[in-house]
Amino acid sequence: MRKLNVKLVSLLAIMLLVSIFAAGCGGGGEEATDEGNEEFKVGFVYVGSPGDGGFTYAHDQGRKYLEEQVPGVKCEVIENVADADAAQALTQLAESGCKIIFSTSFGFMDPTIEVAEKYPDIVFMHCSGYRTAENVGTYFGRMYQARYLSGIVAGEMTESNLIGYVAAYPIPEVIRGIDAFTLGVRSVNPDATVKVVWTHTWFDPAAEKEAANALLDEGADIIAQHQDTSGPQKAAEEAGKYSIGYNSDMSPLAPKAVLTSSVWNWGEYYVNAVKSVQEGTWESGRYWGSMAEGIVGLAPYSDVVPDEVKAKVEEAKEKILSGEWDVFTGPIKDQDGNVKVAEGAKLTDEEIENINWFVEGVQGTITE
């Protein structure tokens, strides 16, 4: 009995201490924000580091843009977070007083929902996922629109009519990009095909370069990619062929090869999201930004792209921007020539999101 009492008392004492500590922390945090002259804290969790020169780099550019554009915003960033550590990182940012937290990797989806439950007053935005809650929204961009435009460039510029595509994993996001790119290629050059090689890695510049080399040796004269490094661009540069970059403008790394890049511009979106939270107009939902909203686009062309090609891209771009037409509008056939989307019909957003078949003109198989 005596022993039990001792245990009970010490347990209570610990709980008391913890709660005092927690209260103290919370108070401290609020004080800091008061002193900080309306400082508005924004949290970011990155799966990689800005040094990847790819996906996380693009997010970080957006974050910098946000800090420049919205006065008083102070960003707290946690880099190199593995999926398993996401909950801890998110909790840390929530505890440090962030009002909105951007969780920038697909793998953070479930931890984001879990942590958000404990912090109902904080807004969580999860990139590329599909689970939402009262205070959790998702955001992503219609990269396929930019891919379609870059496909037009590739279709016009290819001479061998074989375009290589180095792709990471056979998941809908990547398949969608390949399909849109191919539709763009075939819209100007129905004889061209797009050959896909899967690397089963997001980030291995040497391996991705090898995959591009394999395609170049099979006769591809333009290399496109859905990878987070510039390895494939390097392969094209060394072979004296052309390439299409991805994530950010890749021309500095392969100036002779890169014709253009399909790029993410997260900055504008981050500014809008933070402003909506500041103004109290934020609502949970699934944001899938289009090219018209500026979240995706094309990087500047290289000098070798002729004006008439640019004009063709502009023409398609206008149609997409005005909303009169979108990439997955029929007629679209699949690889085997079956009509998947009838003339005049359109794939719904849900169908586009879960797409798991290749369009006509793609050479490659979707493996498990």
């Binding site: 990689g48 580091s49 800005p50 040094g51 990847d52 020169g53 780099y57 290589g164 050959k195 896909v196 090689v197 899967w198 690397t199 089963h200 890695t201 980030f203 291995d204 510049p205 040497a206 391996a207 370069k209 090898e210 995959a211 080399n213 394999a214 395609l215 040796d217 099979e218 490094t229 510039s230 390895g231 390097k234 500095p252 790394l253 100036p255 050479q363 490659g364 198989t365 493996t367």
Partner: protein, 310 residues
């Protein structure tokens, strides 16, 4: 499958295998002296970033390579100090170095991301050898670091198995107590081996950032340091086996991609698994008492040497 295809696969296997070979050779020498080095991945990354940085600043790939060797050697020195002098746990020290090297290289390389290397290692033209049909494109149309590895592998094999220094090295790795009592300087040999191992890992890293890709990206070694550790076992601690073994390990990816490019579908997971299957097989053999002698695994591997406990 045309001969062109096979030549391309084999030539790619050589380039893809070379960084793994350098790192594995370093690991092999270190393990021969009885010191397990799990810091290879970190050492390669530090070598890759310092090589790229020095190469960018001086616009000279040789100075870049020297810097990478120095940085890898310095990492090796830390490992040697912890494991040989302080007799720390080799697994813990190695893992710590990998984590340290990953972080340090990322930090050092921040400003280098997205910049091209002015003077990378390029393919050199060797007058006669490059022009031999089949063999030429596979083995000799490469950069100087690949060509150097052809000399290094037999040289190291000769040193390890045919010289007094190599005998001492193996003795220290097998039974440091006995070697010590015969007047062999166990500490010196272990220090030198681990530092040489670090230098070679540095070259392996620099090969990726200065010849293979060439660019700097955080974490660009992408696990090749770990492959090197497995390769040493696969090679049964023999430098010559390490040379062709590295082509097997490096060539698997290339083969997978090229098979896809000619529309042959084979599970990439299956392909990637194969070399490790052999590695496990060798590990099983090594545990058999009578096989240890035939394979030549260093028996004092990962055991710190303490004179007092002899």
């Amino acid at each position: 499958m045309s001969t062109g295809f096979i030549i391309a696969v084999l030539a790619t296997a050589v380039t893809a295998g070379t960084p793994i070979f350098y790192a594995a050779l370093g690991e092999l020498i270190s393990e021969r002296s009885g010191v397990l080095n799990l810091g290879v991945e970190g050492m390669m990354l530090v070598g890759a970033v310092t090589g790229f940085m020095a190469g960018s600043i001086t616009q000279n790939h040789w100075i870049g390579l020297l810097a990478a060797m120095a940085a890898g050697g310095a990492m090796g020195f830390i490992h040697a100090f912890l494991c040989v002098s302080l007799r720390a746990n080799q697994v813990v020290s190695g893992l710590a170095l990998t984590i340290f090297g990953t972080g340090l290289s990322g930090y050092l390389g921040k400003s280098l991301v997205g910049t091209p290397l002015p003077d990378p290692f390029r393919v050199v033209d060797i007058p006669v050898l490059s022009n031999i049909p089949v063999i030429g494109p596979i083995l000799f149309q490469h950069d100087i670091l690949v060509l150097f590895s052809y000399i290094l592998a037999p040289l190291c094999w000769f040193i390890v198995f045919r010289t007094r220094a190599g005998l001492n090295l193996r003795a220290v790795g097998d039974n440091p107590g006995a070697a010590d009592s015969l007047g062999v300087n166990v500490f010196l040999i272990r220090y030198v081996s681990v530092i040489v191992g670090g230098i070679l890992a540095g070259i392996g890293g620099a090969y990726i950032s200065m010849a293979y890709v060439p660019t700097w990206m955080e974490n660009m070694v992408a696990g090749r340091g770990w492959i090197a550790v497995a390769l040493v076992i696969f090679a049964t601690w023999n430098p010559l086996n390490a040379l062709w073994g590295s082509y097997v390990f490096g060539g698997i990816d290339a083969l997978g991609y090229r098979l896809q490019a000619i529309d042959v579908s084979m599970s990439p997971y299956f392909l990637k698994m194969l070399p490790y299957l052999f590695t496990v097989l060798v590990l099983i053999l090594v545990t058999q008492r009578n096989m240890v002698y035939r394979i030549g695994a260093p028996k004092a591997l990962s055991v710190p040497y303490d004179r007092e406990e002899r």
